[in-house]
């Protein structure tokens, strides 16, 4: 097989493939990327057996065919070459790569036959489409709260279920929880709730143009996503997601409202001096101000006061700073509210005015 294409158009897809392919795998062919070239289209496939990726780019097909090459080296070669057209020519078991205009440069990478490459799952019949922008926003609001604790594998992904007017996504690590339920105009068919691995969601977030639609399909413990020129699939996490509704507080007695920009900047500064082991942030909420501070340590401490509106008694709360920082960082509203009843019980952080997402955080005890 032989094809010619622009360095710029292939390098992005190969670098995504490189991210999917896991470094540690036992089958050498899984370190390879599959290239299929017909009718002036190159389809690029990569998999770690859990997440699979297919992308198509336009090329000039000289002779059709398919092969696989070591992805890591292919990426390295492409990065090293000058901009412009590159020719890829398979001769026996070697792929000869050289710039069209500089024949002096010549790489020969060993190929493995494409027939040995694992088969790809094909999407089921059931699928639905939503705006890419909507899906990416839902990922943004939830992905950071996923647990990295392998012993709680059922929390290692984002939970997704259909709702009355759309769908809901929830994530938790057992200490904080993020929730978003978005209406989908055309509606979403009823499906069994699923738990989606973060690797897959991160990939979608990275690849998405946030324009147009994404089509999602679920079948046999696989999730398929198609958007732009990409086709992705992923195994789902099996297991029982915890009953999250039980831990969402019904209502709170007190609410403290502040500017999103103020709290973001204050947390960014105060976090510099928070002990990265205990992660403990102090919050002193008063009638018209909230003071964020770090614990006094050998290095020193930090304190910042921002204005807020609050009507209860002065109260002190302790919190893992990252549990507060990560949700407020992704809030787009001008103001946010921290809602609570008891400084030792679950706190809810919401955008003001309220929309379709919120974050629940369990504080630390003194």
């Amino acid at each position: 097989m032989k094809f010619i294409c622009e360095r710029e158009s292939i390098i992005k897809e190969i670098s995504i493939s490189h991210e999917i392919i896991s470094e540690r795998n036992t089958l050498s062919i899984l370190s390879n990327v599959l290239l299929e070239n017909t009718d002036n289209t190159l389809s690029i496939r990569a998999t770690d057996l859990k997440v699979s990726f297919v992308s198509r780019i336009p090329v000039e097909t000289v002779t059709p065919g398919s092969t696989t090459v070591l992805c890591d080296k292919l990426l390295g070669v492409l990065r090293s070459l000058p901009e412009g057209e590159i020719s890829f020519d398979v001769q026996e078991d070697r792929m000869v790569i050289s710039p069209v205009r500089q024949k002096k440069i010549n790489f020969r990478l060993r190929c493995i036959d494409a027939r040995d490459y694992p088969e790809f799952k094909s999407p089921g019949k059931e699928s639905f489409t939503i705006a890419q922008k909507t899906f990416v926003e839902m990922i943004d609001q939830t992905i950071f709260a996923v647990s990295d604790d392998e012993t709680r594998y059922y929390m290692n992904g984002v939970y997704m279920e259909p709702s009355e007017q759309g769908m809901t996504m929830v994530s938790t690590d057992g200490r904080r929880l993020s929730y978003i339920s978005r209406n989908v105009e055309r509606g979403v068919p009823v499906f069994q709730p699923i738990i989606i691995p973060t690797k897959f969601l991160n990939l979608i977030r990275k690849l998405s143009s946030k324009e147009g639609e994404i089509s999602l399909g679920i079948s046999d413990s696989y999730l398929f996503a198609e958007f732009d020129a990409h086709h992705l699939s992923s195994t789902l996490i099996e297991g029982q997601f915890p009953n999250y509704r039980r831990v969402i507080p019904d209502e709170h007695e007190f609410s403290c409202v502040m500017s999103t920009k103020d709290i973001n900047e204050a947390l960014k500064r105060v976090s510099l001096l928070i002990d990265h082991h205990s992660k403990k942030l102090f919050m002193d909420i008063n009638a018209d101000s909230i003071v964020f501070s770090s614990e006094e340590s050998e290095i020193g401490n930090a304190k910042e006061e921002i204005s807020c509106s609050y009507t209860g008694e002065p109260v002190r709360m302790y919190m893992n700073f990252s549990y507060l920082m990560s949700p407020v960082r992704v809030m787009e509203s001008e103001q946010v509210s921290i809602n609570f009843t008891d400084p030792a019980k679950a706190v809810t952080v919401r955008p003001v005015p309220e929309i379709d997402y919120f974050h629940v955080i369990m504080p630390m005890q003194s």
């Binding site: 604790d149 392998e150 030792a344 369990m362």
Partner: protein, 393 residues
């Protein structure tokens, strides 16, 4: 009130336990250690064997050469741990505060016990008699106003020793040592100090802390300055908190059944959690170590943000680490489990949204641990093991 610290060191602990369990070995040169053909080293030897020049960490073949009539026995770590627990239980009953620092050594804070036990020497004598009477082992006790002095004192008249350094007598006591023989000074350091003309504590005392720190480095300078004045440099306060806690087991026969290995891992995880409860720490990293039949040895570890709370949690993580690396072939001769990235247990104050699945298990383990400390022979939260055994059938 002056602090009264005991440092208690069991005499030739492993070999004494062997002599205790087998009276025919009494008075004979007993050498505990690995097998010659397995390139073993001496892990302990009786005073009778020491007379031949045998010492711990010496290769076994060399010990055999020096002491051909020696009685060579393989170590029985479980038995030593059992005896150690009995001894520590007596200490805990006797002293208000006990800090074990190894299997056969502990610091006892006896400050303020004068009305109960009389003078420190009288108290030490009672303790020595109790341990000898109830367990049958001899030990050496050092008494001082600090851990460092007590540690030096227990070594001063070994075996079966009892030495008290009275308050105010610390410098005089230190002056009976050379710099080389002070605890915490190794061969290389001693050589460096010798070149600077510092061999006696008195010579060190003539220098200020600042000039010592300038010439031999900050930490060593400060350490030496304190030690030569009989001031505790706080070295055992630091030692109190381990960097990691681990347990390992060499199987009597190699094991290839992953299930059996998993059961051993659970038992080791229990030992780890009990020790972590002793030290009041929690770990955020779990590691496993395994050795194949061919002696190749591997380790793997995983860390997370929140500490591992219970033996079962440590076990499931350790099993996972091993499962992804070993599938039964070749067989294993050793496995070990441990925790690191330790932090004080009290710091765990992050609230949980859901009922913590491991919280109850930890409560059970804490209860078993309390019973063990009171001398119960409960080895582990056995209900867990039963469940595993049942599933296996």
């Amino acid at each position: 009130m002056n602090p009264v610290i005991f440092h208690v060191d069991m005499d030739a602990f492993f070999s004494s336990v062997e002599q205790l369990d087998n009276p025919s070995l009494a008075g004979k040169p007993v050498i505990v250690g690995g097998r010659v053909e397995e390139r073993g080293v001496v892990s302990a030897c009786s005073y009778e064997a020491r007379a031949f020049g045998v010492h711990s960490a010496m290769p076994m073949f060399q010990a055999k050469k020096l002491c051909p009539m020696g009685i060579f026995v393989p170590g029985r770590m479980k038995r030593y741990q059992e005896v150690s627990r009995e001894v520590m239980a007596i200490f805990r009953e006797f002293a208000p505060s006990v800090q074990p620092i190894s299997i056969d050594e502990a610091f006892l804070d006896m400050t303020g016990t004068g009305r109960i036990y009389g003078t420190p020497q009288e108290a030490a004598l009672v303790l020595k008699q109790r341990v000898e009477g109830e367990i049958g082992l001899k030990m050496s006790v050092g008494i001082g106003t600090s851990k460092y002095i007590a540690k030096l004192a227990s070594d001063f008249r070994k075996p079966d020793g009892l030495w008290e350094v009275p308050p105010g007598g610390e410098t005089d006591f230190i002056d009976q040592f050379t710099v080389r023989s002070l605890w915490g000074i190794g061969d290389k350091t001693a050589e460096r100090l010798r070149l600077l003309g510092l061999t006696e504590p008195k010579q060190v005392r003539s220098l200020s802390r600042e000039s010592l720190m300038r010439t031999i480095g900050r930490s060593l300078g400060s350490f030496l300055h304190d030690v030569c004045r009989g001031i505790d440099p706080g070295i055992f306060a630091l030692r109190e908190s381990s960097q990691s806690i681990s347990c390992e087991e060499t199987f009597s026969r190699d094991i290839s059944d992953p299930w059996e290995v998993s059961c051993r891992l659970l038992s080791l995880a229990h030992q780890v959690i009990f020790r972590s409860l002793d030290e009041q720490v929690l770990g955020r990293t779990v590691f496993v170590k395994y050795k194949l039949t061919d002696f190749r040895s591997f380790t793997a570890q995983t860390s997370r943000e929140t500490p591992f709370m219970s033996a079962e949690e440590i076990h499931s993580q350790a099993r996972e680490l091993l499962r992804s690396r070993w599938n039964g072939d070749p067989p294993l001769r050793l496995v070990g489990v441990g925790i690191s990235s330790l932090s004080p247990a009290g710091e765990q104050v992050q609230g949980e949204l859901f009922e913590d699945p491991y919280g109850k298990k930890r409560a059970v383990e804490e209860a078993v641990h309390r019973l063990k400390r009171r001398g119960s022979s409960l080895a582990k939260a056995t209900s867990l093991l039963e469940r595993y055994d049942k599933r296996r059938k």
